[in-house]
C-alpha cells in the first residue's frame, strides 16, 4: 500500500485553477520529486497536503486513511513533517529550542503537570533533548546549537529547518526546495543527508526541487507539473526528455 496518495486533487483561488485533477501515489521508502516552472503549483500541492489549504475536489490519503478534512496539527501528529521554501523558523529562539519545539507531537504531559514540573516532565525533557542531539550530530549543527535563528546565515537556516522537521520523527517528509539558497558544496552535503534520511531513518520523502543534478542523484521518480496540471511521472531522465516538459520550460 502506498504511504501517501493524492486522488484527483484540485484547488482554485478566485478564478485561478492552481491545481487541477492531479493524482499520484508515493510508495514507502521512496524519494518522490515534484518539478515544474514557476507558478506550476508545486508548493500549493505541499500546502494542500499540510492542510493549510482546503481541497476543492479530490482526496488525500495517508496510509490508506483519508486526511482531506483533518486540521493541520493533526497531519503533523500523524507523522508528516515539512520544510518551507524560504524557511519559516521561530526567529527569536535558539536552534536548540527550535528543534525541541518539533517534539510537540510526542508530548505526553498536560500543561498542569508541566507547571509543577513533575519528574515525568523532566524525564520527557531529557528524552527530547537526547533525540535532538542525535539530529544535531547527523546534520553537524553543534556549533549553532545555542545561537538564535536571526543571527544565522540563510544556508544554516535551511539545514536547521531540515533538522527541525526530522525531530518530529516523521514517516513522510515534505521538502520544499531544500537546495535553494545553498552553495554547491552545501547542496552536495544535502544530497548525502537526504539519502541518509531516506535509507537509514526509513523516511519517505516528497521533494519540490529545481536543481536537476540533485534530482537526478537522489530521486526515484519525478512528477512534472505545469499550470496546475500533471504533465508526466517517471524517472528523472524520462521526465527531462519528455516533450511536454521541454515545451513547458522552453515554450513551443
Amino acid at each position: 500500500m502506498s504511504v501517501f496518495e493524492a486522488k484527483e486533487i484540485g484547488v482554485s483561488f478566485g478564478g485561478v485553477r492552481a491545481i487541477h485533477d492531479v493524482s499520484f501515489a508515493v510508495e514507502k521508502g521512496e524519494i518522490f520529486s515534484i518539478m515544474g516552472p514557476n507558478g506550476a503549483g508545486k508548493t500549493t500541492v505541499f500546502n494542500l497536503i499540510s492542510r493549510f489549504y482546503d481541497l476543492d475536489q479530490g482526496d488525500l490519503f495517508l496510509n490508506g486513511e483519508r486526511i482531506s478534512n483533518i486540521p493541520p496539527h493533526e497531519v503533523a501528529a500523524r507523522g508528516v513533517a515539512r520544510t518551507f521554501q524560504n524557511t519559516e523558523l521561530f526567529e527569536n529562539e535558539t536552534v536548540l529550542q527550535n528543534l525541541l519545539t518539533a517534539h510537540h507531537t510526542h508530548r505526553r504531559t498536560s500543561f498542569l503537570s508541566e507547571m509543577f514540573f513533575f519528574p515525568k516532565v523532566r524525564r520527557q525533557e531529557l528524552k527530547f533533548r537526547e533525540t535532538v542531539e542525535d539530529i544535531i550530530d547527523l546534520l553537524h549543527l553543534q556549533s549553532y546549537r545555542e545561537q538564535r535563528i536571526d543571527a544565522l546565515p540563510f544556508g544554516a537556516r535551511k539545514i536547521v529547518e531540515l533538522g527541525r522537521a526530522l525531530c518530529l520523527e516523521p514517516q513522510l517528509l515534505l521538502l520544499d526546495e531544500p537546495s535553494s539558497g545553498l552553495n554547491p558544496e552545501e547542496t552536495e552535503d544535502l544530497s548525502f543527508w537526504i539519502e541518509d534520511i531516506n535509507e537509514e531513518l526509513g523516511v519517505t520523502i516528497i521533494m519540490v526541487e529545481h536543481d536537476m543534478n540533485l534530482l537526478g542523484q537522489v530521486s526515484g521518480r519525478v512528477m512534472a507539473l505545469s499550470d496546475g496540471e500533471l504533465l508526466t511521472i517517471g524517472t528523472p531522465d524520462e521526465v527531462r526528455e519528455h516533450p511536454d516538459v521541454i515545451s513547458a520550460y522552453l515554450g513551443e
Binding site: 496539527h73 521554501q85 524560504n86 519559516e88 523558523l89 527569536n92 508541566e114 525533557e125 533533548r129
Partner: protein, 358 residues
C-alpha cells in the same frame, strides 16, 4: 566572564544555570523576607504593591510576550478578580479559597475571550480586548446590587483561622509567597512543551501548526492562564485599596499593565519584575518632578498619562526589548570590556519569508 561547562542535559533544563545564580536569587529572597522588619510601613506597602504588579504582569507577559497576543484590556481581568473575590469573601467563603476562586472565575472568562479572539491578531485583537474592558467596566457600574456601582464596594478585612491577613506584615508575606509560586509556575511552563508551543505561535503560526501545535488550544490556554494570574493579582489588589470603584479599573490601568510588559522587556521573565518596578516607581518620580515644573503645567490633568504614553512610545521605538534588553547589553559591555562591539546585538533582518498562506 563566566564560562559554564555543561556536562549533562539537565543543566539546560534547570531553572538556574550555575551556583552564582542560586546564590544571588537566594540572597534576594532572604532580603525580601527580612525587609519588613527593617522598613517603615509605607515601604512595606509599596513592596506589596510591587508584588501585586509582578503577579498581574506575569499573566500579561505570558499572553503578549510569549504567545504574541496583544491585550489592551487586562484591567478587566483585574476588576473581575477583585470584585469576584470581594463578593465571595463577603458572602462567607473563607479568605484563601476565595482568592483561588476569583482566579478561576477570571480564568474562565479569559477562556471565553480567548475562544472569541481566536481569529484575531494584532490591532484587531487589541481593539476587541479594549471593548471587552469597557463592557466589564460598564457592567460593574450598572450591577449595583452586587458591585455597589459608583458608590463603591467595601472590601471586608481578610481574616481566616483568626489570622488577620489585613495587617501590613502578614499581607506582605502572603503576597511574597504568591509571587514566588506564580513565578515558578510561569518559568516551569516556559521550559516545557506548552511554553515552547506558545513561543512557536508567537514567532510563526504556520510553522507552529506544521510542528503539530494546536493553535486553538494553545491560544485559549494562554488567555486562560493570563486572565487567571491577572485576576489573582486583582483579588489581592482589592485588599490593598480597601474600597472598589469601577474607576479603579479603567483603560488607564490596562495601559499601565501594557507598559509594564513593554518597558520590562517582551519575552523575558526578568522583564516582568523590571517592568513592575518601573510602574511602581514612575508615579513617585512624576510627583517629585512636578514640584519643579511651572504651575500651569504641573497640576494640569493628564500629565501622568502623557508621561506614561511618551515612555511607552520611546521604548517601542528605541529599546523594543525593554529594560531587560538594556540590562543584557550593559552586562555584556562590562563582561567583555574592552572588547564589546556595538553590533553584537544587531540582528540581520530576514526579508525572505515564506508566502503567508492565510
Amino acid at each position: 566572564m563566566r564560562f559554564v561547562l555543561k556536562t549533562n542535559y539537565a543543566q539546560d533544563i534547570n531553572l538556574f544555570l550555575h551556583n552564582g545564580q542560586r546564590f544571588w536569587y537566594g540572597l534576594l529572597i532572604a532580603a525580601l523576607i527580612l525587609a519588613p522588619f527593617f522598613l517603615e510601613n509605607f515601604y512595606i506597602g509599596e513592596l506589596t504593591y510591587l508584588f501585586i504588579w509582578v503577579i498581574a504582569g506575569a499573566g500579561l507577559m505570558l499572553l503578549i510576550g510569549y504567545t504574541g497576543l496583544v491585550s489592551m484590556g487586562h484591567a478587566a481581568f483585574m476588576a473581575i478578580g477583585a470584585y469576584a473575590h470581594a463578593v465571595l469573601f463577603k458572602l462567607g467563603v473563607p479568605f484563601l479559597p476565595s482568592l483561588l476562586m476569583a482566579a478561576l472565575i477570571s480564568g474562565f472568562l479569559g477562556a471565553i475571550i480567548g475562544v472569541a479572539a481566536l481569529r484575531m491578531t494584532g490591532i484587531y485583537l487589541a481593539v476587541a480586548t479594549i471593548s471587552f474592558a469597557f463592557i466589564i467596566e460598564k457592567v460593574i457600574s450598572a450591577w449595583r446590587p452586587v458591585t455597589g456601582g459608583h458608590r463603591g464596594f467595601i472590601v471586608p478585612e481578610p481574616v481566616m483561622f483568626g489570622v488577620d491577613f489585613g495587617s501590613d506584615l502578614v499581607f506582605y508575606f502572603l503576597c511574597l509567597v504568591i509571587v514566588v509560586v506564580v513565578m515558578l509556575l510561569v518559568m516551569n511552563l516556559l521550559r516545557s512543551p506548552t511554553g515552547r508551543a506558545m513561543v512557536a505561535v508567537r514567532d510563526s503560526e504556520i510553522s507552529a501548526q506544521a510542528m503539530g501545535v494546536n493553535l486553538v488550544q494553545t491560544k485559549t490556554l494562554a488567555f486562560t492562564l493570563s486572565a487567571a494570574f491577572t485576576g489573582l493579582a486583582g483579588a489581592l489588589y482589592s485588599h490593598k485599596i480597601g474600597m472598589l470603584f469601577p474607576e479603579n479599573f479603567t483603560i488607564f490601568l490596562s495601559i499601565k499593565l501594557l507598559m509594564l510588559v513593554v518597558v520590562g522587556g517582551l519575552g523575558s521573565v526578568h522583564g516582568i519584575v523590571f517592568g513592575a518596578m518601573f510602574i511602581s516607581i514612575l508615579p513617585q518620580v512624576i510627583a517629585i518632578v512636578r514640584d519643579f515644573l511651572p504651575s500651569w503645567l504641573a497640576y494640569r490633568r493628564g500629565l501622568e498619562p502623557l508621561v506614561f504614553g511618551a515612555i511607552l512610545l520611546f521604548f517601542l521605538m528605541y529599546e523594543p526589548l525593554g529594560l531587560y534588553g538594556r540590562w543584557v547589553k550593559i552586562r555584556a559591555y562590562f563582561t567583555q570590556f574592552p572588547l564589546y562591539r556595538k553590533s553584537t546585538f544587531k540582528r540581520q533582518k530576514s526579508y525572505l519569508r515564506t508566502e503567508r498562506v492565510h
